[in-house]
Structure formats: C-alpha cells, structure tokens
Amino acid sequence: MTEAELFKEVLQGVLLIVGEYRGSHAEEAGYVDRKSGNAIRYVRAIHLAECSWHGHVDCVIITERFPEHVSTIAQAQATFSYVRGQRYVFYIDWVKRERGQTFASLSTWGIEEIEGGKEALGPPPGGPAPHNLVLLETIPQCL
C-alpha cells in the first residue's frame, strides 16, 4: 500500500492503526474445565505496534484470531512476515483504552506494509529522545 492509498483510506474513515511493528507471539489459548477436563482451544496471535498516543510513544496490543484452517502455532507463526521497526497499517475491528493500555483486535483485512515507507522516525540507538516524546517508562502508569 502506498502512502497515497493509505491517506485515501484514512479519509474514507477506515478503522486502522499505523504503527511501528515491535513483535508477535502466537499461542494456543483456551479454557479448561477443572471438573470434566474438557478444553476449548484456539490459536491466536498478539502483535505489538508502537504508535503515538497524546504525545507519547505507546505500545498497542493487537490480537489476531485465525480462520479454522490455522490450527497450530507453527501455522500461525508462518503468517508472521513482518519486519521489526518497519511501519505497517493494522486494520482493526475495535480499539479500547483500559487503564493506560491500548488494545485492538485485528480485522480480516490484516496487516499491510506501507510501500516505500521509511523506517519509523526516532532517534539513533542510544541518542536522546525527541523533546516532544515522553517514554511511558518515565510516567507512573498505576496512578
């Protein structure tokens, strides 16, 4: 997706998050009944994306549910073709902010790379943070 296409979608009101990809984790989540031992299992992925939230860098936890044919962690991991540090568009179904953390659910449109997208803007490793950005670690989150 080019930046022009992205801009068009933003103006159309498509629900999406643009952020720097930080990593993914595939897991077999589910529920187990202690009494009967029955289990309900499903494979899902958690993606981390860093974006700006009211002037500071925030990490969004994006959950992805897979279609039925993706039934193992290995199959789920095989879908992770994203490069850390690169900016992507995450199409989402919903987003919520709960106690200082942003959560979202990935829609079936998935994740798209921004063509020609430069790596996320930020200071060189070890360099000072831009003056308008405040790292979350410096703010007590539990207050």
């Binding site: 529920y31 187990v32 009944d33 009494k35 009967s36 309900i40 989150q141």
Partner: protein, 212 residues
C-alpha cells in the same frame, strides 16, 4: 470469549450427550426485567414439580423489541400443551419448541456474546437446572493464555495473595508481556532464561512499585 461463555459451552457439552429440545418462552406484553425473572422462577418451579427429572440450561436474552425472554435447552421430551398450561399459569405468553441436534447445544452461547445491558448487571445470564447433573461453573474454568501464564509466574515471584493492588499487578504483568514479546524471552522468565527473582528492575525494564 468470556469465562462465563466458556463455562456455558462446557455445560452444554455435558448436556449435549442426550436428546435435546430448544424452547423459547416469551410474553404477550413488554415487562420489566425484574418481573420477568420472578415469572421465570415461578415457571421453573412448576416445570420441575411436573417433571422432576427435567434437566437443562436457561439463557436470558434482552431482545431489542420484545424485552427479556428465556431460552431453554432441555434433555427430555415434555408435553408442549401441558407446558403451555403451566406457562399461562405463571403469566407467560408464547412458547416455541424445536428438536435440537446435540452438537448444536452451544447455539445459545451466541446470546452470551452480546454486550450485557446495564439492567442485567450482576445477573446470571445463564444457569443450569434440574437434579442429577453438574453443569460447569465459572469458578471451575481455567483460562490459558500468555497473560495468565505470566500472571502466575509473577504471582509466584512476588508472593501475591488476595486482591491488593490488583490493577498495579495487572500493569506489571502487561509490561512484562510486552517485554517478553519484544525481546523473545521464554514465557515466565527474564533475559537469558533467568527467573524473574534473579533479574534486576533495569533488566526487566519495569517500574519498581513498593505496593506490589
């Protein structure tokens, strides 16, 4: 999926080993939710008095136009005309019943996926009834996710008991979940596979909070 919905699916699996019937009970007029619950308790008493071996599950559904009504799955054929008489006695209106393949027993779980209306806050949206069977309870359901595994690891590390500083604990676990994914750490361990208690605050990149 919520724990309540998972417990319902487990309960419906247990019930689903038998021949099942799906019932819907509605009212002629729109009633207040508390009045509906009262009438449901009355009807259930009458049903169990008439068919003491009746077992099943009930789900409340707050319909946009028709108010609160009740869906039931029962494991036994009960005569519809007799049921209608009892329902009329308890102040209910229309009844609908259909046979249900046992593999569709989880169908009613869809009503548990809807957002809970405010007037049903703290209500049991579903419940089992009847003697001689044990339906799954929410307290018996264990959630297995990355977060729950890491919470257990942190609980062990910090020796958490009770519910003190619950939200601070959640924030700490969430921070560690993010670090674990970003750095590719083993679940429940810090950098280099070190247990949390051997890691410094700087290594884990967390804020030291004396409350937790």
């Amino acid at each position: 999926m919520t724990k309540s919905k998972a417990a319902f699916l487990f309960a419906s699996q247990t019930l689903g080993k038998q021949r099942l019937y799906l019932w819907t009970f509605t009212f002629r007029e729109l009633l207040e939710v508390k009045e509906t619950r009262k009438r449901w308790n009355h009807l259930l008493t009458l049903l169990l008095r008439t068919w003491p071996r009746l077992q099943g599950l009930r789900v409340f559904e707050l319909h946009e136009k028709h108010g609160l009504h009740v869906h039931l799955i029962t494991n036994q054929f009960i005569h519809v005309n007799r049921t209608r008489e009892l329902a009329t006695q308890a102040g209910w209106g229309r009844i609908h019943v259909t046979r249900m393949p046992s593999e569709h027993a989880g169908y009613l779980a869809k009503y548990l996926s809807k957002d809970r209306p405010e007037c049903l806050y703290r209500w049991r949206l579903w419940a089992g009834f009847g003697k001689g069977w044990e339906w799954a309870k929410v307290k018996d359901v264990i959630r297995e996710t990355l977060f729950s595994r890491m919470y257990r690891a942190c609980k062990e590390w910090k020796g958490w008991t009770g519910k003190t500083s619950f939200f601070e604990r959640m924030a700490l676990v969430r921070r560690l979940v993010i670090r674990t994914i970003e750095e590719g750490w083993e679940i429940g361990f810090g950098p280099g596979g070190k247990p949390y208690y051997l890691c410094s605050v700087a290594e884990l990149e967390i804020l030291e909070d004396r409350n937790i």
